[in-house]
């Protein structure tokens, strides 16, 4: 399929859509399916059959509609009505409203800041198209960027476009994407690889999962453009086995795209070929680290190796390899289609574009959001998130998962970008954002993340293997009220040592949650140690007088 044929197909598809009957979109994102949106869909199908509406009402399975806390969500296009907390019993009411307009039912206002304050690039098709239908993606200008790139742009021009857009890696560290592409493009090798890192594993994070489930073609298109730019002909998407829906949809998407000549051999009738395979991870967090991920694809134990050499020089099977995160690739088609200047116009000086976050924890509206870089934490938590429920008080926002930190109230008006978050001891990370209220104990939060790092450490290097276990035991002692200032001093010493000496990012960043909570909530640690009291009332203080006097 060449560019003209693609545009013709998109046009036809849009025309067909115009003429289509009433549309009801049922969210089949993981959050809604977990609250049984599949049963709602089933009821909807049965009811339509019963009422003879099968041809008049089109029932669409779409990806995440965003507001996961209010799922299952059902959207009726006609009146632009969003029904929340839908059960199979609500189906007749929804069908009824098609005739008479919205009235009954649990309706979620669509003018909530949760919806209006977002700016969607990566998620523009989420909740709109059926991820399994390539035609719908094409109708939404899908694969236009890829065919334009391969037929009208040189690889150098593609890289220049990405460089000028200012896109930075969305996996967490924020490495400039254009620079990375350029490095791989310049590496002297006949064979090169492109890898998409979909091994998202941070607790409370499901951004990449949603992108892969809701709009798999966008990721594939981004990868193919990258492959063209750097000169690769083979790609792998590494997805963790815990994401079966994403794996299934990606496999379907690859199959469909290959059939239309949008992936595989001679893409768009040009000499450029690119084959993609899905590789399923076996559930190790450390495999999100690029060298461990590469080892895992090669069939070895998922362990990192020291860098340099970086994958850009020597990656998969020793060949130059471009490895980017799901969300990074998902930004690429929009940048090529709409231009670097458009993308660079969004965000802050050093962080361009938007970022997808998973807003979870103690906020009224939890779910998947996409916001422009530079938005403040206050806007995210209090406007989009709707504030802290149950009359509780805001305490901190945790970003960056087990590699990140906790940001206290005094920084709420700070713009969210790579550099500001780093300056307060946290990181952007892949996009988990956990809001913590005053019912949580910060020492307990730090202990939770340390336990995660301890059980996810691969065990290769000593500081991470033993250090995380030692730090976890020290935190356990503190939360049990059994620790003295000696243990606290030892904890701080170990934090520094593990951060400075560990082999890979997991160990180097594992102390971050402890370091940042010690920085902003030291008084909570001291309360546990000196007063044998947990200010939030979370930790069961079990120490005896004997332990104290011994200290």
């Amino acid at each position: 399929m060449n560019l003209d044929e693609l545009q013709k197909m998109a046009e036809q598809e849009r025309e067909v859509k115009e003429g289509q009957p009433q549309k009801i979109r049922v969210c089949m994102g993981t959050g809604c399916v977990a609250s049984f949106s599949d049963r709602v869909l089933q009821a909807l199908n049965e009811k339509c059959k019963e009422m003879g509406l099968e041809r008049d009402v089109l029932r669409l399975e779409v990806g995440c509609l965003g507001l996961c806390s209010n799922g299952p969500l059902v959207k009726v296009d006609k009146h632009n009505t969003l029904y929340q907390h839908v059960t199979p019993e609500d189906v007749p009411t929804i069908l009824e409203s098609l005739k008479e307009g919205p009235g009954e039912g649990d309706i979620c206002p669509t003018d909530l800041p949760f919806f209006t304050r977002q700016q969607k690039i990566v998620l523009e098709n989420s909740g709109v198209i059926n991820p399994d239908q390539i035609e719908e993606y094409i109708a939404a200008d899908g694969y236009l960027a890829l065919l334009t790139a391969v037929s009208q742009m040189s690889p150098t021009e593609v890289i220049a476009e990405i460089t000028h857009s200012g896109l930075r890696g969305r996996g967490g560290a924020g490495y400039p994407t254009g620079l990375k592409w350029n490095t791989v493009a310049k590496a002297p090798s006949e064979k090169k690889y492109v890898i998409c890192n979909g091994d998202e594993g941070d607790p409370g994070a499901f951004m990449d999962r949603s992108v892969m489930e809701d709009d798999p073609h966008r990721v594939l298109e981004g990868m193919a453009i990258a492959a063209y730019a750097v000169g690769a002909d083979q790609g792998y998407i590494y997805v963790r086995a815990e994401y079966p829906r994403a794996i299934k949809r990606l496999k379907t998407a690859i199959n469909r795209a290959e059939r239309l000549g949008l992936l595989g051999k001679n893409i768009g009738g040009t000499p450029f070929s690119f084959h993609v395979e899905v590789r399923v991870g076996a559930g190790a967090f450390v495999c999100g680290e690029e060298t461990a991920l590469i080892a895992s694809i090669e069939g070895h134990r998922g362990q990192p190796r020291p860098r340099p050499p970086y994958p850009a020089q020597s990656g998969l099977w020793g060949f130059p390899t471009l490895i980017n995160n799901v969300e990074t690739f998902a930004n690429v088609p929009s940048i090529i289609r709409r231009g670097a200047a458009w993308f660079a116009g969004i965000g802050t000086e050093k962080s361009k574009g938007t970022k997808v976050f998973c807003l979870t924890g103690a906020v009224a509206h939890t779910g998947l959001i996409e916001v422009p870089m530079g938005i403040t934490l206050r806007e995210i938590v209090f406007d989009i998130g709707g504030g802290i429920p149950n009359g509780r008080k805001f305490k901190a926002v945790q970003t960056g998962g087990p590699s990140g930190g906790c940001i206290p109230e005094q920084f709420l008006d700070m713009p969210v970008d790579y550099d500001s978050l780093k300056s307060v001891g946290s990181i952007m990370g892949s996009g988990g954002m956990i809001v913590i209220d005053d019912s949580s104990c910060m020492v307990d939060v730090a202990k939770y993340f340390m336990e995660f790092c301890m059980s996810e450490s691969c065990g290769k290097c000593i500081p991470c293997r033993v250090g995380t276990a030692q730090m976890y035991h020290l935190l356990q002692q503190i939360t049990a009220g059994e620790a003295t200032m000696t243990e606290l001093a030892l904890l701080e010493e170990l934090c520094e040592m593990v951060r400075d000496t560990s082999l890979c990012g997991l160990g180097q960043s594992a102390p971050n949650p402890v370091i940042s909570t010690l920085r902003f909530f030291r008084e909570e640690y001291l309360a546990h140690i000196q007063e044998r009291r947990c200010p939030a009332g979370v930790c069961p203080i079990t120490a005896t007088e004997g332990v104290l006097s011994h200290a």
Binding site: M454, V466, L490, L503
Partner: protein, 242 residues
């Protein structure tokens, strides 16, 4: 005419204030060794592939954002390296402490007492006491092999045995199982050593093992001396053949 196809250049660098020259394909550790500067290492053993895992050999390089493992980092022109700064010396001591606290290293009852790399490192690095809490795991000893014993209580997970078995002997009997603090070296897929179908019984693993984790049956306290002459010999012979 200079040889433009040479795979390395000669570079000059500074280690601990002393200017030295080295080949660009050498690691910091090799360059230091040539100049009689000893950098401690545990997973490193000349003749086996370096993996940069034990982190004992980390050094400070001026201008580098973090410490670098000297066994896998190549020298570069103008590098300024500090191998024994107060910071890295302290870190090395803590790493050794971590090993002592992780398993059960009781020298007085160990077959390798007096011939143990871990013990020697502790002496060299001035480790006088362990201020980390001991974890004292109770790990099962594998004495199923006719001639050798594997005592995981003394293992430091340097994976020298894994590498020598894979790279030199070609049997790949040893590998690592489990993750993090639960990681163990195992024979085959966790089968008893004596039942291993891949093990050739060559004993190379026993002799590269830095501690008393792998030893010969019948050896008592302090009697297990490791003989590693075979390793440089085999390495040189194989290079000549190539």
């Amino acid at each position: 005419m200079p040889d433009a196809t040479a795979l390395y250049q000669v570079v000059t660098l500074v280690i601990n204030g002393v200017e030295i020259s080295a080949r660009s394909d050498q690691t910091i550790m090799q360059a230091a060794e040539e100049n009689e500067i000893e950098i401690p290492g545990l997973c490193h053993l000349t003749g086996l592939k370096d993996i940069g895992a034990c982190r004992l050999c980390v050094v400070e390089v001026k201008g580098a954002p973090r410490l670098v493992p000297s066994c896998v980092t190549r020298v570069a022109e103008g590098m300024e390296i500090f191998t024994h700064s107060e910071r890295v010396v302290n870190y090395r001591r803590t790493i050794l402490e971590m090993l002592y606290a992780e398993r059960n290293h009781v020298c007085s009852v160990c077959v390798s007492n007096g011939h143990c790399d871990l013990q020697a490192l502790a002496l060299k690095c001035g480790l006088e006491y362990v201020h980390l809490p001991y974890m004292t795991p109770r790990l099962k000893i594998d004495a199923s092999h006719d001639r050798f014993v594997y005592d995981p209580n003394r293992c430091v997970l340097c994976t020298r045995c894994v590498r020598v078995c894979d790279e030199i002997e070609g049997a790949h009997t040893w590998d690592v199982m489990g993750r993090g603090i639960e990681a163990r070296v195992v024979t085959d897929l966790g089968q008893p050593w004596g039942e291993s179908e891949t093990c050739t019984g060559c004993g190379k693993c026993v002799h590269v093992c830095p501690t008393g984790a792998l030893f010969e049956k019948g050896k008592s306290v302090a009697e297990m001396e490791k003989r590693r002459q075979f390793l440089p010999y085999l390495t040189v012979m194989r290079e000549v053949k190539r």
